[in-house]
């Protein structure tokens, strides 16, 4: 297809229209008799003037420049790019869900409240937590909410002033330390040991009555299950801190083990990862938060409750931290996750994790001979390779870009920071062994090319809508909006 390179503003022709509105059928008055002149704006809006056809072609052409899960394999580590079932989208588009106002009387939205309540219950069962809120908008937002609850807990005990530290492993997702910092916590990073686990001794050293809690991903970002998780929880609890579970990697444990049973006090899940709701090119996500019994009173309001066969929104929670978002969270996203859980059932969810884990181990096993595998032990849903060493100066980035030429989305690269030139691969359960084999042969072919024709890698990708881009100029002289005067 011909290369399409127009901005919608460049399609604009004076006089073109893409909208239609009914005539205004009420008696009207001149606007400036209704709103004083001095409040009326004069500057133009500078929106494009295009026809409906222009719009449809423009966005259809743009969409063709994206790689997506529906295009092919998307092994982005810690992002769980699994298949997004179509039926979920259909369900979310039912008028009875899509077209209801958040402030309607409760009796007119019983179906919606039931969905929220049932999803809440399902997530409580899956995580082993006492109560779950659906309000947080994304994983990072869930972390923030969870830490707010942690703060409220220490405040109630009169210890918030001294408990100023949050412990995170050095392999943690960047959002963990960032979320803690936003709430004014001091972040203490503990090094992992040579097996990629939390170093218990180093942990003991930093534990004290100034610790508010610890944030942990389990399995961690190396895809490794923390064998000492119980001991870690006990240590932190003994020091008076709370354990926070980052659910980014929950796809490995559905129906196998539960953070609640491991000893975590607060958890979040990413519905857009583990529960198949689409990532939407960067959002919307959803990050429900679950807590143990004595922390439930701190959850954001309102809480969906069931009384007899009526569902209600309870705002009367005096200890609640308050609201962290408008209304009740990303209802439409929760709806898709609920549909997914119903489609999978208990056994299905367990099979999700089994298949996710076996796929990851299968890939790891097939690649470890050729690529560095810094920590060689059974992984869970994902694993981390170390890239190629001094192979004609070929970098991990080159490998990632070359994979694009082979029709695969690159894995997560240069993360976690604890592994040099990391290549972090998460296949998910929705990929067949045939896809995995094809990916393996591409990865192996690339190592050959690195030896024989490195420039092939350094210049990759070759047949994409654009080639490698100049990020330095973009950041030095930012152009972040189109204006007719910007030429480049």
């Amino acid at each position: 297809m011909r290369a399409y390179d127009k901005l919608i503003f460049e399609l604009s022709r004076e006089g073109r229209r893409a909208y239609s509105l009914p005539k205004c059928d009420v008696d009207t008055l001149p606007i400036d008799e209704l709103i004083p002149k001095e409040f009326i704006g004069t500057a133009p809006l500078n929106m494009p003037e295009v026809s409906e056809v222009d719009i449809v072609r423009h966005y259809t052409n743009l969409s063709s420049k994206n790689y997506c899960v529906d295009t092919g394999f998307y092994p982005l580590g810690s992002c769980t790019m699994k298949y997004n079932p179509k039926i979920n989208e259909v369900v979310a588009s039912y008028e009875g869900f899509m077209n209801i106002h958040p402030l309607q009387p409760e009796e007119t939205v019983q179906g919606a409240l039931e969905v929220m309540y049932e999803l809440r219950k399902a997530l409580e069962e899956i995580t082993g937590m006492y109560e779950v809120t659906l309000q947080p908008a994304a994983g990072a937002h869930g972390e923030l909410t969870g830490l707010m609850i942690m703060k409220a807990y220490h405040r109630e005990r009169g210890e918030d002033a001294k408990r100023t530290k949050i412990i995170v492993p050095d392999s943690a997702h960047g959002t963990n330390p960032a979320s803690a910092a936003v709430l004014g916590f001091e972040v203490i990073e503990v090094e992992s040991n040579e097996h990629g686990d939390v170093d218990i001794e180093k942990l003991r050293k930093v534990l004290g009555d100034d610790v508010a809690g610890m944030m942990l991903t389990n399995p961690n970002t190396l895809g490794l299950f923390e064998p000492n998780i119980k001991e870690i929880c006990d240590l932190v609890h003994a020091a008076g801190g709370l354990m926070y579970y980052d659910g980014a990697n929950a796809n490995a444990i559905l129906g196998i083990t539960r953070p609640g049973d491991m000893g975590f006090d607060i958890i979040h899940l990413n519905l857009h990862k583990t529960f198949s709701t689409p990532h939407g090119g960067g959002g919307p996500g959803s990050g429900p938060v679950g807590v143990r019994k004595d922390l439930a009173k701190f959850l954001p309001v309102p809480v969906v409750e069931k009384h007899g066969d009526k569902y209600t929104l309870n705002y009367d929670r005096p200890h609640s931290i308050g609201k962290v978002k408008s209304f009740y969270g990303h209802f439409a996203v929760c709806l898709k996750a609920y549909a997914y859980i119903l489609s999978m059932g208990a056994e299905g969810l367990r099979n999700v994790s089994i298949n996710a884990v076996i796929n990851a181990n299968y890939l790891m096993n097939a690649l470890k001979g050729t690529y560095k595998l810094p920590i060689d032990r059974m992984c869970k849903h994902e694993f981390v390779l170390g890239g190629l060493e001094n192979e004609n100066g070929v970098t991990t980035m080159d490998i990632a870009k070359r994979l694009i030429d082979y029709g695969f989305h690159p894995p997560t690269v240069y993360f976690p920071l604890t592994i040099n030139d990391a290549i972090m691969i998460e296949p998910t359960e929705t990929e067949s062994v045939d896809t995995l084999d094809a990916f393996v042969s591409a990865m192996l072919k690339i190592t050959e090319e690195a030896k024989t024709s490195p420039e092939l890698l350094k210049e990759a990708p070759h047949n994409t809508p654009v080639r490698r881009v100049d990020e330095v100029t973009a950041a030095r002289n930012p152009i972040i909006r189109f204006s007719k005067t910007d030429v480049s």
């Binding site: 990020e471 330095v472 950041a475 030095r476």
Partner: protein, 127 residues
């Protein structure tokens, strides 16, 4: 990795060049190399009085934003506005591209800093 004689150095990889009671401050070759292509330098206001250890600038590369700490207390005399137009000057000539010049409050603070030899030592230990 170039280390220039006659300058003072900090463990955060800032350098200080003293002329009279004025201290010119920049970042070392090691620091600019670690940061990569520098895209933006945030400058303080002339006249600000800052303590040793205060963050007086943030230097951004594509992949990082690094706080730059003031090695010696003082009042900002000059800021190098050229860096607003061409932040890459720091990559090209780290020891020539001072970021600010301060009028020192207490030049004995200089004694806490490293000389070229000590900094060289420090670098080799770090790596």
């Amino acid at each position: 990795m170039e280390i220039k004689k006659g300058l003072y150095y900090t463990e955060e990889h800032e350098w200080v060049r003293v002329s009279g009671n004025t201290a010119y401050i920049g970042i070392t070759d090691y620091a600019q190399d670690a940061m990569g292509d520098i895209v933006y330098v945030e400058l303080p206001e002339v006249g600000d009085t800052l303590k040793a250890g205060d963050v007086f600038s943030v230097i951004e590369s594509v992949k990082a934003a690094s706080d730059i700490y003031l090695p010696v207390s003082g009042t900002v005399l000059k800021v190098n506005t050229e860096l607003e137009d061409s932040p890459e000057m720091i990559n090209e000539d780290p020891y020539g591209s001072w970021i600010i010049a301060v009028d020192m409050l207490d030049d004995t603070e200089l004694d806490q800093l490293m000389d070229a030899a000590a900094y060289k030592e420090y670098l080799s230990e770090e790596n």
